[in-house]
């Protein structure tokens, strides 16, 4: 479906799931179910009637949001939440592989003046503010003068799965597809900051891109700026990425440069990154001081009654909580009894390596370990597979639960906060097994 398939970014180190084959997934190859393409889209249902045009007041019951497929430059057909500014959700089928193709990588903008064209002869990355030597770096200089590094990392919107919330909260009504994984290549922020010489008295590093809005200056409708604390250890890991899966970034994913903040939500991953500033006072703009704040606990939990009085902190204080997803089966097919069915999906955690994925076919009452796919690094999607042999016909509720190296186990309690952030409840998929004669 995608015009562009992700290129294997690390030659000689196949991303396909070798480990699966080793661990008994071989049966899949024999059954001819083993995927031979990087990703494909599978229709969720039949083709006679569309999804409803909106959901609510109940929770959105579908894996993705209910929005239609649309075409954008450099993109495969994605699901349109909004068209100005642009917000596009990645369809479920693209998550069968650990690395999401660039053409399917989801899109989320805050402001509507999105670059259509960038002239690299004029574009410079500015490093300014409380530094010894302000820098203006061309893309060529960034590529040539700093050591390149590559890292697989999940880019997930703070509001991914917001349409699950009960009661519903306004905002981008994402299903589960406001996330994508890519191998990012670029330079380390710390190397660039070292070249500029950050002076003492710095409290935050702020990031701003080329995109703007039509609102008045000083308002959130005019500029989108985010900042990380100078003493936040994540700054050591931040990459200024000029390549994504071995290709330049699609315009809608931040060409020519974007910040990659491993393990943290995407609000800090500034697209079209053009200004990096060392600040001596905390950034006070709307997007930093008022938006993207969560109740001060690792899942951002509160209640509708307490939401207006609860203490909140920037969402960057917490890594992305551990999550896992069932990608196939997606419920579009009835399963004949006796067929060993490959249940597959992905898992990740902002806290680090996914160490365990468990599968349930009884709505989460009992759990069995799934096989993990290749480890691509602590911040990447990790594929998993469970070869399921249902014992009798009937309706099953499949569920998946992941754990990470820090001992976090994905919980079954829903998340609620006023902004619709940090959803990570256990995912389920209903499936019908029929008699095979």
């Amino acid at each position: 479906m995608g015009q562009k398939q992700a290129m294997n970014p690390t030659p000689g180190k196949p991303l396909e799931r070798r480990e699966f084959l080793r661990r008994g997934g071989l049966a899949l190859g024999i059954l001819g179910l083993f995927p031979t393409v990087a990703a494909f889209v599978r229709a969720q249902g039949q083709a006679t009637s569309p999804l409803p045009s909106f959901t609510g007041p109940g929770s959105n019951p579908y894996w993705n949001g209910v929005n239609p497929y649309v075409v954008y430059p450099q993109k495969a057909p994605l699901l349109r939440l909004t068209d100005r500014p642009v917000q596009l959700e990645t369809p479920r089928g693209y998550f069968l592989t650990a690395v999401t193709p660039n053409a399917a990588h989801y899109v989320r903008y805050h402001l509507d003046e999105i670059p259509n064209a960038v002239d690299l002869a004029a574009w410079r990355l500015s490093v300014e503010g409380n530094v010894d030597k302000p820098l203006k770096l061309s893309l060529a200089e960034l590529i040539a003068n700093f050591k390149p590094v590559s890292l697989a990392a999940v880019n997930q919107c703070s509001g991914n799965s917001r349409s699950r919330f009960q009661p519903r909260v306004a905002g981008g009504q994402w299903g589960n597809g406001a996330m994508s994984n890519a191998v990012w290549t670029g330079v380390r922020l710390k190397d660039v900051l070292a070249a500029a010489g950050v002076k003492s008295g710095t409290v935050q590093i702020s990031f701003q891109g080329l995109d703007r809005g039509k609102g008045p200056e000083g308002k959130g409708s005019n500029a989108f700026i985010k900042a990380l604390d100078w003493n936040d250890p994540v700054l050591e890991e931040v990459i200024l990425a000029y390549a994504m899966n071995g290709e330049p970034l699609p315009m809608l994913n931040g060409f020519p440069l974007r910040a990659v903040v491993p393990g943290r939500f995407a609000t800090y991953w500034m697209k079209h990154l053009t200004w990096i500033r060392a600040l001596t006072e905390e950034e006070k703009n709307f997007w930093q001081a008022s938006a993207y704040k969560v109740p001060d606990n690792p899942r951002g939990l509160t209640t509708p009654q307490e939401a207006s009085t609860v203490k909140t902190v920037p969402i960057g204080k917490y890594p992305m909580p551990v999550r896992s997803f069932i990608i196939t089966p997606d419920g579009s097919s009835k399963i004949p009894l006796g067929l060993p069915l490959s249940v597959r999906g992905i898992a990740f955690s902002g806290y680090g390596r996914v160490t365990r994925v468990e599968f349930s076919d009884d709505d989460g009452k009992t759990w069995r370990p799934a096989a993990l796919g290749e480890y691509l690094g602590p911040y990447s999607f990790r594929t998993w597979e469970y070869l399921w042999r249902p014992q009798k016909p009937g309706k099953y509720v499949l569920a998946v639960r992941a754990s990470d190296e820090r001992g976090n186990v994905q919980p079954d309690e829903p998340v609620w906060n006023a902004s619709g952030y940090m959803w990570n409840r256990i995912e389920r998929q209903e499936i019908v097994v029929g008699s095979a004669g």
């Binding site: 083709a47 006679t48 009637s49 569309p50 409803p52 045009s53 909106f54 959901t55 609510g56 007041p57 959105n60 929005n67 239609p68 497929y69 649309v70 075409v71 954008y72 430059p73 450099q74 057909p77 349109r80 939440l81 909004t82 068209d83 100005r84 500014p85 642009v86 402001l111 509507d112 003046e113 999105i114 259509n116 064209a117 960038v118 002239d119 690299l120 002869a121 004029a122 349409s163 519903r168 306004a170 981008g172 009504q173 703007r212 809005g213 039509k214 609102g215 008045p216 308002k219 959130g220 409708s221 005019n222 330049p248 315009m251 060409f255 020519p256 709307f286 008022s290």
Partner: protein, 292 residues
């Protein structure tokens, strides 16, 4: 067995095989096949494949315009106000995307647009906008959209009109595709642009208006307008010249232009960028044009 014989044998075997297959197929209807050959018109629509594009020369990296896919708003009083004001910063997919919400949400959110995001919406208009949203987009009032028509006309066609300058999309939200504006809310361009161009200094002023925006009360043909126009300085010189030429020649404006009127040039816009004005200064400059 000679090669020739072998060839015959294969042909015979293949023939027998095909006959057997044909028999199998005939029997299939009573061999578990429950339904086949059923078709129905596709109602979910189809998406055309985009054609490849050729990249620009040198150091420029470009894609085309961002396509709009904006579903129509529900009909009802206040729809034009919603379309006009909200479209300044974002399309109305920001409304239609939301789940069915309690009525109070829309009041809170419109006030947030004004107070937090700086939308300049006069209180009377804000009231009508809230009333409209509550009449159509709450848990109690919202209706599911009809399934898409198989061959819906692209939205942008409707906005720009057949002779449309693509840039005029940004203007049509307020000034309308017809150029008529909305009386008392958004001033008309039809008939009014030639008046501006006829006034001494009017030509220079309208360029400044696009580059700097304007805020405050004005009168057009005796009708008061008390809103704000955002600046469009993010558009390049060519686009600003194009949209100015578009609005000076549409809706019969071409017949009302001052004698010797020349189309706006890119250079003219470029020069005008040198003079930075505040939206208030643009209003003061307008007051000096002597428009009625």
């Amino acid at each position: 067995m000679s090669k020739r014989h072998a060839k015959y044998l294969w042909t015979i075997l293949l023939g027998l095989g095909l006959m057997a297959l044909a028999q199998e197929t005939q029997q299939a209807s009573n061999n578990g096949l429950s339904k086949a050959g059923e078709y129905a018109p596709g109602t979910l629509g189809m998406i055309a494949q985009p054609a490849p594009s050729s990249p620009p020369e040198g150091s420029l990296y470009a894609v085309g315009a961002w396509p709009l896919y904006t579903p129509a708003l529900e009909d009802g009083p206040g729809k034009e106000l919603v379309s006009g004001y909200c479209n300044t910063c974002h399309s109305t997919t920001y409304i239609t995307m939301q789940p069915a919400m309690p009525a109070a949400y829309w009041e809170t959110n419109v006030n947030r647009m004004i107070n937090t995001f700086g939308a300049t919406i006069p209180p009377d208009d804000a009231k009508q906008i809230i009333a409209y949203l509550q009449s159509h987009y709450t848990i109690e009032t919202r209706k599911q959209a009809a399934p898409p028509a198989p061959q819906a006309a692209p939205q942008t066609q409707a906005v720009t009109g057949s002779t449309g300058s693509p840039v005029y999309q940004s203007c049509a939200g307020c000034h309308q595709a017809s150029g008529a504006g909305i009386p008392g809310v958004f001033p008309p361009l039809a008939g009014h642009v030639p008046d501006i161009l006829k006034a001494p200094g009017g030509r220079e002023w309208i360029v400044q208006l696009l580059l700097n925006g304007m805020a405050g009360e004005i009168q057009v043909n005796g009708q008061k307008y008390n809103g704000a126009m955002p600046d469009f300085s993010q558009l390049n010189d060519q686009d600003i010249a194009a949209v100015l030429n578009h609005i000076s020649t549409q809706w019969g404006n071409d017949k009302l232009l001052p004698q010797g009127h020349q189309p706006f040039s890119t250079d003219e816009i470029k020069t005008a960028r040198g003079q930075k004005l505040t939206p208030q200064q643009v209003l003061e400059a307008r007051n000096k044009l002597g428009l009625k």
